[in-house]
Symmetry: C2
Subunit: 146 residues, 2 copies
DNA sequence: TGAAGATAGATGCGATTGCATCTATCTAGA
DNA sequence: TCTAGATAGATGCAATCGCATCTATCTTCA
């Protein structure tokens, strides 16, 4: 096995996958125990709530890194559950505008404390502020397109 | 929204998810273009190859963080593809021992250069050695059980 | 204008995942 | 030694994902 990749890089790669897996699965386990919204539901609702006035699916797709077909179906489920409302986009008839409903706001709000608590428990409590900042900065470099 | 979580922690959390997603999907896209093994297949084969002499599924489960039912089926596929061989475990009849086949070694070996190249491209080239080391250390803290 | 191509989103279908549960051992304690 | 859990792994079923493709608009440019 020639050294095509340094050991450090390999280690960082493995830990990136493992750490995300560990944090997400712990968060989901806590969430499930508390009966809260799935993380993706939360993320969509939160995005819609912040950008009051309607959001286009393709914007969500970019911001939240969903695959188009997955997002399309996720929205179906959110609409089905009464948490999101779809409207035809007035300026582009191909598209639609999404709005969070009152029920959606309520559900998101109810989930938030659990989510926050879990985030602290599985992430915040394990790093100092300075470390969290450093981590965010390093991860930022990985996200950038090369 | 009271400050139940610091902004820094939230940012680190979001970036952890995004960065892993970005790197994994880029790696997979490159891999698909090159026609190489899926990442999980690679990981299992690599583990089996390093620990020559048979590996128990539950060990893989722990080391590679698979859900038990997913691993069980992943092994089915690997066996089906002729890359892995299953044997009844001599010391525990509930269990089994897994071995990589010659075809499995060959497939893993053929995939490696592509994998390594992609890992450098999407991870190694974006960080200095010192940064990669720092990142690995910080991620390590997240993986630890609290 | 009026195509030719780009973009927004939906959808059929097969593969994979997650949940719950099942069988077959193994292990520990009475 | 016998039984009540624990553990290893498999599996039915419903939900979700990924791929490819489809429809319905836009947009651009000759």
């Amino acid at each position: 096995m020639a050294e095509l990749v340094s050991d450090i890089v390999t280690k960082a790669w493995i830990r990136l996958v493992r750490a995300r897996h560990a944090v997400v699965s712990r968060l989901e386990a806590d969430g499930k125990a508390a009966g809260t919204l799935p993380i993706e539901w939360y993320d969509v609702l939160w995005d819609l709530e912040r950008r009051d006035g309607g959001v286009r699916p393709f914007e969500l797709e970019e911001r939240l890194l969903f695959a188009q077909y997955n997002l399309s179906r996720l929205i179906d489920r959110l609409v089905e559950a009464g948490l999101v409302r779809r409207e035809v986009c007035p300026t582009d008839k191909r598209g639609q505008m999404l709005f969070i409903t009152e029920a959606g706001k309520k559900a998101r709000k109810a989930t938030w404390p659990h989510y926050a608590r879990a985030m602290n428990k599985h992430l915040g409590d394990k790093l100092t502020e300075a470390e969290a900042e450093k981590l965010a900065a390093l991860l930022g470099k990985l996200i950038e397109k090369s």
